[in-house]
Symmetry: C2
Subunit: 435 residues, 2 copies
């Protein structure tokens, strides 16, 4: 290891200079080995928050975090392993559909998923609402499962990107989470460590996403894609609208229920958006995984695999392998309260983050990593942007186990709808695709 | 203590908001009590480096650091205790003159001085070059000395501003030293803790100072003065030119020797600037200490106290009280090398910082707080800006104990002079006074 003086490296970033790969290697490796103390790392991270990182720095930093732990390698088994990653939204449950759907098309799917934090949910929490199901698996079992069974979904393990784990934990308590290069490198380091041959990104924008504007999301998507490009990973990014909850349900077991209906080929206007977006994402996974010669062909295939129930069979087998006893005994909330419209007109917008916050209040999400989840609670959304409502129309159902929490959640949801006398202009769910 | 979430306070400063006094109290007090971890403090300090602090925040932060330890109080004995503080320069030895001079005029002088770091020297290192002299004293002994004997000079103690001590140590290793509000609050917290009734600041600018331009020094001076104002301490700030070494000598025992000559009333063009600046600073101390009804009267008094040797008597007694056996046995370097001019013309400028660096190479200063000082080594400057020199004229004498170091120092000094065929316009030593 080159012997750098940490304070000098911090000052270099503070004045806005770019680090060499060797300097970044020193920072990542010495910090992971606990030789670079937390107090120097956090000062450096704050300097990065203000001065940013160049494209090359971000790519180098990401690769160094990837290499801090075990890196999966499918080259000798099945090189074209695909994953999908979402930047997070309210009611975003597509992973549970697109994984099995792409796998049903013959794509090898490796998913290292996350837990919910803040107003957005996490795939792991949703899966764990299925009684018996476990997302704990060693990386070698995970790799074997992907190769042999075509799909596996796990949470982050101790040996996957430990540098990212330690750095994120420090960022969380030092006000340095919100930084584009740090966010992008954290996401992509884990994806690169999966040994993927292709990645489909669902980059969300709007009132229910972290990025409130399309422009912010575009910058994020391009940065994520660039990191992939610099490190040899093809990335397709869909920029998708998160101005309203996705689908009918928000909350873990409730969302699993919605996915099961879609996987079984059921159609309903309440979750038509979830189904459409899932088909979109899966078609890109199928194309990247070379099981279709065009995205359009992938779409046709994905639609068929939903209709025939083949995607459901893959999901069902996946759940069984990972310990689920049945898919028919999802937890249900003790209380369901209806929420009726107090206004009339066209719904023109939602404060979707507020609906996410209401779901946290019900117990469906976390504000801190230590919070416990109530898997049964959540919110059912029966109206969409463009819906015409009259006073007294049923708009939401709130599922919960605690009356006080339900009341508080309902008060939040009431404030989260905007009405107008004129219908809003329709907006596409997928705003842009970056190949 | 109000229960703040540290990461939220860090984010507040990161986005450029101002902290309340309560928030700053939480940060300072919890950090000093080791309940706020280093990694959160360093992230916050880096955010301060980028976002700054308002005048009120800086004053509050300073007062909170002052209150982290023992605060001296002369109200029941002699309320009008005065100190002088310099922001540091090459050959700046005026503390050793102005302290005794003001004390000889009847002012009570309390000096908590610092050590040299980087290209500027420190009063404590200079004093300690006097055999036997100690700057270690308990705060209560210091206070008693000031009251009973009119003057005492010590170094920072463990119980004076511990918050500043801990914060500075963290800043030193996290690239967060260079920040105006952090620099100002660090200086002023210690001055406020001395329980002063008035402070004279010597804020230096030019090639031998930390602030290279007058404008930067003016900002620093105003900020220091404002902190005093907000906390009830009258501060007079002199902005003084540091474009060339002050006086004849740079180096600890050599500078003490120069001070002894001035205190004994000797006159020489080589140290006329040291003497002039000392009289200026002392006249403001005497005026602030109400031993003269005007600064001009203070100047007359100070000049007389040098001529009569009364200031020398005060210094001599001070040194004796603090352990010095004699003032006639200062250490001397084994080797003295002459440096002659290789050019001819008028000297129009010095790279004064380079001369400071040369003195560090000789052993007269430190690059790190752990470095040992060689008290005898240093540089004798026999030319000034405006001097007309011919080839072969003696310009410097280098005092050292190691030939290799002496050669390296001489190479630096050779590059540190700028010549011109025309004489430079004269510039005043004191550029501005802020009352």
């Amino acid at each position: 290891v080159e012997n750098y003086i940490p304070a000098e490296l911090i000052k270099k970033k503070r004045r806005g200079s770019n680090h060499s790969r060797e300097e970044l290697a020193y920072i990542v490796n010495e910090f992971t080995a606990q030789r670079l103390p937390d107090y120097q790392m956090s000062a450096w991270l704050m300097a990065v928050c203000f001065q940013g990182m160049s494209e090359k720095e971000t790519s180098d930093f990401t690769a160094l975090m990837r290499d801090s732990g075990q890196v999966l390698n499918f080259k000798n088994t099945h090189p074209l392993v695909i994953d999908k990653h979402s930047t997070g939204g309210v009611g975003d449950k597509t992973s549970l559909i697109v994984g099995p759907l792409a796998a049903a098309a013959g794509v090898h799917v490796a998913m290292v998923a996350g837990r919910g934090l803040g107003h957005t949910g996490g795939t792991l929490d949703k899966l764990e609402s299925i009684p018996g199901l476990s997302v704990q698996m060693s990386l070698s079992d995970f790799q074997r499962n992907v190769v042999e069974n075509g799909i596996a979904i796990i949470g982050q393990t101790a040996d996957l990107c430990p540098a990212d784990k330690f750095i994120y934990a420090l960022r969380d308590v030092t006000g340095t989470v919100d930084s584009l290069p740090l966010i992008c490198s954290s996401i992509m380091s884990k994806k690169l460590a999966e040994g993927l041959g292709g990645l489909v990104l669902d980059v969300k924008f709007g009132s229910g996403a972290f990025m409130k504007s399309f422009e912010q999301a575009l910058v994020l998507a391009k940065s994520l894609q660039n990191i992939g490009k610099h490190n040899g990973l093809p990335v397709t990014a869909l920029l998708t609208n998160m101005d309203q909850p996705l689908g009918q349900f928000v909350g873990n077991a409730l969302e699993v229920g919605e996915c099961l209906q879609i996987l079984k080929g059921e159609l309903s206007p309440s979750f038509a958006d979830t189904r459409e977006l899932s088909i979109d994402l899966a078609s890109h996974m199928i194309y990247l995984g070379k099981k279709a010669s065009s995205v359009a062909e992938g779409r046709t295939l994905a639609t068929k695999l939903l209709q025939t129930g083949q995607a459901f069979e893959v999901f069902s087998a996946l759940c069984k392998r990972q310990g689920a006893s049945s898919l028919n005994n999802l937890p249900r909330a003790k209380k369901i309260f209806d929420l009726h419209s107090e206004a009339e007109g066209y719904i023109v917008g939602f404060d979707t983050e507020m609906i996410g916050v209401a779901s946290i209040i019900l117990g469906a999400g976390r504000t801190s990593a230590k919070d416990q989840i109530d898997p049964a609670s959540g919110i059912e959304c029966l109206v969409k942007i463009g819906s015409k409502v009259n006073k007294g129309d049923l708009q939401f159902r709130v599922h919960g186990n605690d009356s006080h929490r339900i009341n508080e959640a309902m008060n939040r949801i009431r404030t989260a709808i905007r009405y107008s006398s004129a219908p809003p202009a329709p907006t596409p769910l997928v705003a842009k695709i970056l190949f």
